[in-house]
Symmetry: C2
Subunit: 297 residues, 2 copies
């Protein structure tokens, strides 16, 4: 994709991702209807499609036929949505709102919410394993990377456990980094890694892509913490101040708002410097880094 | 595997599967420790390892190096265990005991139980996608078949929803078949299908394998219903009579115990006749069918 303007990029990618999600998700009228309704409710409740965007941008740094990677990009959104549904459950973060709408369990009940999450995760693996537009070796590598990023050891599930365990207790900066790297960072990193790897990035390029992805993931989480603290509910789409109420560890709580903003700026700059070396194709990724920062302003 | 005695078969396969599970599952001392402890608690809480056994038996009908398929066989047990953990949650079947021990959420709390289930499912996909002892094409086909069997349309998750929805209402025999085929049958069928397919079964053999798997899955579920009704808690490993208490649809409730036993006998006989055509290699599968039936006596 040749556009080097992040706004134009998302304007082109988001409808294509949504169309792909619509094709992948079972129709609401298929049995069991309530489950399929809940899956679609949460997937189409809004969301910036950041992870699919990162996947397409990573792919586009190496190949121009970006439509090919859409099923994989959409699958990353399925995995992200599953994690939101389960995190919002009463047994976990107990959040009544998500993306400005009643959370899945508030709308459909706990049982359906648990199963809708399970189903979105399963559907993501099914969708990627059916991708025959790439070599089977590459598809398997993508599946492995996704499963690790979603998993328990410096992966999404592990991060959620650490986050729950940290509630109400003092944790240091290193531990907070581990939580963020696991809970949010791993899937964001995987999004760009999957795109680049399916696009045929060389090992050296993949090294840069990973470093870039790690920084983008961290910056994104700090921005999320800042938004929660500054209470911009509409931007955030969930109950603001909730992290503070639950005495959750956050960057602003540990470092203050201004210092957190400075950290985001430094991390994003570093990400840009790492990725700019990949040449013209990576211009979108450079802009993507800036885009993550502007959310915190 | 040349043994044609089902007892000897399980005596050989179960320890090998357990050893594989022990290797696949993250150690308890890895962070987050409580999550890894919960995953191991539920996986090693007992269980007959029927699905791994069916996978190995399916594979062994076509190839002799059955140890090769152990990671896949073990992954089927991970998926099965994830489904038990989530099904037992208070929001679902609300069962305090499983395999004769406190269920996962009773032992570790709801949050960890939900996440342990998520993690086992994710780990299954990670494990299979790392199998380089088979061709990438076959591994991808196995992943796709597993995801479908675990999914929402005539798959495990869909079956659980239909089962929850059917509680307390009258359903006919066809609908009960659909529930069973989805909730239990699909994964049992997938177990043998994955084994046979990775073992290199021809399309004609696969057709028989599928028909056989469908019948074994159905027979197994009817036997489970019978055991629940006759209240043999030790055999069942969970609270007996629970299905009846919750006015759940079961075969004995619809057809009576004796007629249910006769149905099992007829289905198992049919399964044997289908599979015996594959020749000597399938002798284990013939015995496996009988084994399913003897549980109901």
């Amino acid at each position: 994709m040749k556009t080097a303007n992040i706004g134009a990029f998302f304007q082109q990618v988001v409808p294509a991702v949504d169309e792909t999600l619509d094709k992948i998700l079972p129709p609401e009228f298929n049995v069991p209807t309530k489950l399929h309704e809940a899956m679609r409710y949460s997937v189409f409740a809004g969301g910036k499609r950041l992870r699919p965007g990162l996947c397409v941008a990573g792919y586009s740094a190496f190949r121009s036929d970006w439509e090919c990677v859409l099923p994989v990009a959409a699958s990353l959104e399925l995995v992200h949505t599953y994690s939101l549904i389960h995190d919002d459950l009463p047994a976990m973060d107990d959040d009544d709102f998500r993306r400005g709408m009643p959370s899945c369990h508030r709308q459909f009940g706990d049982a359906i919410a648990i199963l809708a999450g399970d189903a979105l995760l399963t559907l993501a693996f099914e969708t990627i394993s059916a991708c025959d537009q790439f070599s089977p070796e590459r598809v398997l590598a993508a599946l492995r990377a996704l499963a690790q990023a979603a998993g328990t050891q410096v992966g999404m599930i592990g991060g959620q456990v650490l986050d729950l365990e940290a509630a109400g207790s003092f944790i240091d900066s290193d531990h907070l980094d581990l939580i963020h790297r696991s809970k949010t960072g791993a899937l964001i990193e995987a999004s760009i890694v999957l795109g680049a790897q399916l696009g045929g990035a060389t090992p050296d390029a993949m090294r840069r892509i990973r470093l870039y992805g790690q920084r983008i993931g961290l910056a994104f989480q700090i921005v999320d913490d800042i938004l929660d603290e500054t209470g911009r509910a509409r931007e955030l789409g969930k109950t603001p101040g909730k992290d503070r109420d639950q005495s959750k560890a956050t960057y602003p709580r540990l470092h203050g708002i201004e210092e957190s903003r400075r950290m985001v700026h430094a991390i994003v700059r570093e990400a840009g410097e790492i990725i700019v070396e990949l040449g013209d194709g990576a211009q979108l990724l450079v802009e993507m880094a800036d885009y993550v920062e502007t959310r915190s302003q």
